[in-house]
Every structure is written in C-alpha cells, then in structure tokens.
C-alpha cells in the first residue's frame, strides 16, 4: 500500500512512503515507514509539549518503550532517533518520578560515603540488571552502581559518562533507586575531586571574568529593544542576530591540537 502523505501548505513536493501500522499507547495509526517514532507521533496528530528536546539524540527527553509482536522483550529507544517498525506497540516515558537529593555542594569532600548518605537506597541493588537492559545508550547501569557500592567513583563516572538522564533505568529498578541521579552526583564529584583540572576551562573562566565578552553580550542584548510592533525593527534584529550567529566560531570537531579562532566572535578565546 502506497499513499501520498498529506501536503503541507505551500510545499510543492509530496513525499510518498509505505504506510505501516503502529500502536501509540494502544491505538492503531498508519504512519510512513521511514519516520522516527517522534515524527510518526506528530504525523498521527500528537503535539509535543514535553517529551521532545534536542531532536538529535542527546538531551534524553524522549525515552520511549516499545514491544514487537511475538517477542516478550521490552525494547527502548529515543523517539527522535528510533525508526518505526510495523506493529510496534509504543509509549513515550518522558518523565518518571525520581528523587534527587539536595546537598550543599561546597561542603562535599568527594568521598563515597557522601553518595551513600545522599542515596542509601543504592545498596538495594540485587544485580538484576534490568536497568542496563533498558538503557537506550547501552550503558551497563548495574556495573556503575556496583562500582559506587565499592567506592570506585572514578570507574562509575567513566561507565556512566554517556548518560543522557532519560530516566528509563529508574522505571525498571526493583530497588526503587534513581540510578541516573546517583551517577550524576558521582560525575560531579569526579569532575571536582578526581579528574585532572582542565587548564583551558580555567583560562576561559578567567577570560569571562576579565570582561572580554562583555561588549559582545551588550551587542546581542541590545537587539529587541526597539519597538517590537514595527516589523522593520524585528526584521533588522533577526538579520543582525543571524549575522552574529554565522560569524561565531567554535573549535571544529576534527581540528588539530593547536587551533586558534580568527573571528572576534570566537566561542573560545
């Protein structure tokens, strides 16, 4: 079955794709087979107020659980990254209640006991491994909890590094802990007390403090101060903002070790 997808107003080209059935929260929809879960849900008429963020697979807002016919396994994916499959039953779990302990950061000394005090429930881990199996980032969650239990914060920070805080691990834990919050505390402690301090970060903070970026900020902040009901003003602001955005410079992902920006609007001084 091949059907034309509805044409958005003003679009000249219709995209055609095979339509497949998916079940969103139990209700059947026919959606183009090439779409991600997120786009398929929007195609089906859902509007995201929550549960959508970066749409690039890094923000962790769109954790989704699904099952396929004839298979008891719980499958997971990020809605913005996972392509729909025929007959999949899915629901997004953008948020799951998970307590985060408050603590005074300046009083933290970087000891494992502080994590135990903040999250004593981590000792309820029975090594069932349900958390690892449900992680869309394929992090061995159980292993970092095990590392924390033996006080190895460095290892825990390393294992949990790719965590995007989607919270799916916490939905499955029979010990009722919120693993990702515990790991975040550990990574922060790791950054402050264990990891080698990064020189360029200190340099950058110094540059910000010295006022190096103040004029650039003022330039941007001045935008939008004219009467917003005059379309010309808005157009000028938008134009200027686009120019500034284009002129900005960040270190390219494939740069050599020595890289220096040649624009005044460099992100890195």
């Amino acid at each position: 079955m091949c059907q034309e997808a509805p044409l958005a107003e003003g679009k000249a080209l219709a995209i055609t794709a095979e339509l497949i059935p998916v079940y969103i929260m139990g209700k059947k929809y026919m959606v183009p087979e090439s779409l991600t879960i997120m786009k398929a849900m929007e195609y089906a008429g859902y509007q995201f107020v929550r549960g959508a963020g970066c749409r690039g697979g890094v923000c962790g807002a769109c954790g989704t659980v699904y099952r396929l016919p004839g298979d008891y396994h719980i499958r997971v994916g990020l809605a913005c990254q996972t392509v729909v499959q025929p007959e999949m039953y899915l629901t997004q779990i953008p948020f799951y209640p998970a307590n985060r302990t408050s603590f005074v950061w300046d009083e933290i000394k970087g000891e494992a006991e502080e994590v135990y005090k903040a999250y004593p429930e981590l000792f309820r881990c029975l090594a069932c491994n349900a958390c690892s199996k449900v992680c869309p980032m394929d992090i061995p969650v159980m292993d970092y909890i095990a590392a924390i239990k033996r006080g190895d914060l460095e290892k825990a920070a390393e294992i949990s590094f790719d965590c995007i805080q989607c919270g799916l691990c916490a939905t499955r834990c029979m010990g009722e802990m919120a693993q990702y919050h515990i790991a975040q505390m550990v990574r922060r402690m790791h950054g402050k007390f264990i990891d080698v301090p990064s020189e360029h970060c200190a340099k950058q903070v110094e540059a910000i403090k010295s006022g190096y970026y103040d004029d650039f900020m003022k330039e941007i902040m001045a935008l939008g101060t004219l009467d917003p009901f005059k379309q010309d003003n808005v157009n000028d602001d938008v134009k200027k903002l686009k120019e500034l955005y284009k002129a900005r410079q960040g270190e390219p992902s494939t740069s050599e070790n020595e890289w220096t920006p040649d624009s005044d609007y460099a992100i890195l001084k």
Binding site: L126, A127, K149, G151
Partner: protein, 296 residues
C-alpha cells in the same frame, strides 16, 4: 602463574589492608592475581530461603564473569564473599531446576552451570603452593608471635563449602606454623563474632565478641589472625567497646591473615597498611622484631 581474583566491595574501601597485602604476598610467591574485569557485590549473605532466587543473581553473575574470562578458578580473600560465591556455585552445579530458572532470567549472560571453582586464598596456599614451599619462601619468620586463628562462621560452614575439616579445621594452624608463628588454640575460633548484630543489638554483639577475645587471650595469644572484614569490624574496630564493658581484658591486636603472610615474605610493611588496623597491631610486630621499628 596467574590466579583469577574476586575482591569484594569492602576490600576496595575499608579493608584495603586485606587486599593489598595479599596481592603483594602472592607476587613474592610468583603468582599474579587477575581481578575480574567486571564484578558486582557478591550478595554478602547467602540467602537461605529456598525460593529466594533473586538473591542468587549477584553471586552467580560474578561467577559468569569469571567463566567469560576463561577462568577455571576464582580466588577470594573475604570469608563472606567466599561463602556466598561458593554456595551459589554449588546451587548452579547441583540444582537443575533453579539453574534453568536463573539462566533463563539472566538470558543476556552466558549460561552457567558451576564450571568455575571458588577457592579461598588459604586453600590456594595449601593446595597449589604447598606449606613446604611457603615455609621455604619465608624471609622473616613470625617467631615469638603467638597467633590465634579466627575462622568465624563462613570459612568452615556449611560443610559443603568448608575450606577444611569443618569440625576441627587445621588449615589456619598450618598456615601460621608455615610462617614460623606459634599457633594458639582457642575454643572460640569458630564461634560467631556477632555479625550484623553489632548494628541491631550491640549489647549482645559485644558479649559475643568479648568471648572470642577472652578465649584467645586466656590461651596466651598475642593477636588474632582473621580473614573477614565483618569479623575484623566486630573484634578489631569495635574492640574499644568490648574493653569498656570488660575491663579485665587487654587490647588484642587483630591481623588479616594476608598481612601476616606479607610481612613474613618480606613485603614492605607500608604496603600492608597497618594504619587501617585499629588495635596496636604494627607496634606488636615491631616489639617482636618482625617489622623494623620506624623511629618516631
């Protein structure tokens, strides 16, 4: 020779003196320990409820990790880890129905049927190194040291995982004598130290622990030799509470057996981390001339 090794959580925190001294001592004997690449808590206490399989996941998973590394043997230092792992291993070997249930549940792991052997370091020293060879490797005999071994509950019970004869074990005696020390028999060497009662019922716990200390002292022991961080907590770290309640008792130093092994084999005492031993342990070794006195 390499030897697969499961450390256990406490050995990575409060009982580094148990681990570090054992690893260095084994190096002297030409044995390189290979720690499991991945491991979790052993479960600490073996679950006695017949249908409580969920508590078997942790120890069995550790055994699977050992199997996945191609190990046929995994050595432990902590008595409780030894006990929990060894019993879970027997369950996987002997109970076909439970083995299937557990393997089915852990379908993301390799199937396991008890292929790996769980041993305690004392067993390894006796069976794989041999007392004669150990004796020959001793550089600093523990002469003039009267040592009473403390087996506690978990090295010799239940029978099927006992590291030696369960009723009158001699392995610890042989160990102490191989190091040149004097073995001191105590009637309470296999009585419970009070275990986790120290948290829920401290008064009864102090009574139980005091009997262990008293029995060793009465027989003329200079120190206790043990292999369990929980026993060490109750008999060593909490000894101050025992002495408060029983003022006729003298302070009794406690050593992990691996610390005694290490100093006898000439390992640098700094590596043995005696600063983690609560009672005046290092002072005793200095007094007896086993360890050179560091001038204050």
């Amino acid at each position: 020779m390499t030897l697969g090794y499961y450390p256990g959580c406490t050995l990575k925190s409060h009982a580094r003196n148990l681990e570090d001294s054992a690893i260095e001592a084994l190096k002297v004997l030409g044995v390189e320990t290979v720690e499991l690449e991945r491991w979790n808590c052993c479960g600490a206490v073996y679950s006695l409820a017949d249908d409580d399989l969920i508590h078997q996941l942790a120890p069995v998973r550790d055994l699977i990790r050992a199997k996945d590394m191609g190990l046929d043997k995994v050595m432990t230092l902590c008595s409780m880890c030894y006990n929990t792992l060894a019993r879970a291993n027997l369950l996987m070997r002997n109970d076909e129905a439970k083995r299937k249930t557990l393997n089915d549940f852990m379908e993301e792991e390799s199937d396991y049927a008890g292929e790996v052997e769980v041993i305690h370091l004392l067993q390894f020293l006796k069976n794989d190194i041999g007392w004669d060879k150990l004796k020959a490797a001793v550089k600093v005999p523990l002469k003039d040291l009267n040592l009473s071994p403390y087996y506690g509950c978990t090295l010799t019970r239940p029978l099927e995982v006992s590291i030696d004869e369960a009723v009158s074990p001699t392995i610890f005696k042989e160990f102490i004598e191989a190091l040149g020390g004097t073995y001191i028999h105590s009637d309470h060497s296999a009585e419970c130290c009070s275990s986790y009662q120290m948290i829920s019922n401290p008064e009864a716990a102090i009574e139980a622990a005091s009997k262990v200390v008293r029995s060793a002292e009465d027989q003329g022991a200079d120190a206790l030799a043990l292999s369990c961080p929980l026993c060490e907590y109750n008999l060593g770290k909490r000894q101050v509470d025992i002495l408060k309640k029983h003022d006729d008792l003298k302070p009794l130093p406690t050593f992990y057996f691996s610390q005694l092994l290490a100093v006898a084999l000439g390992v640098d005492p700094l590596i043995c981390r005696f600063e983690l031993n609560p009672t005046a342990s290092l002072e005793l070794l200095e007094e007896k001339g086993v360890v050179e006195k560091v001038s204050a």
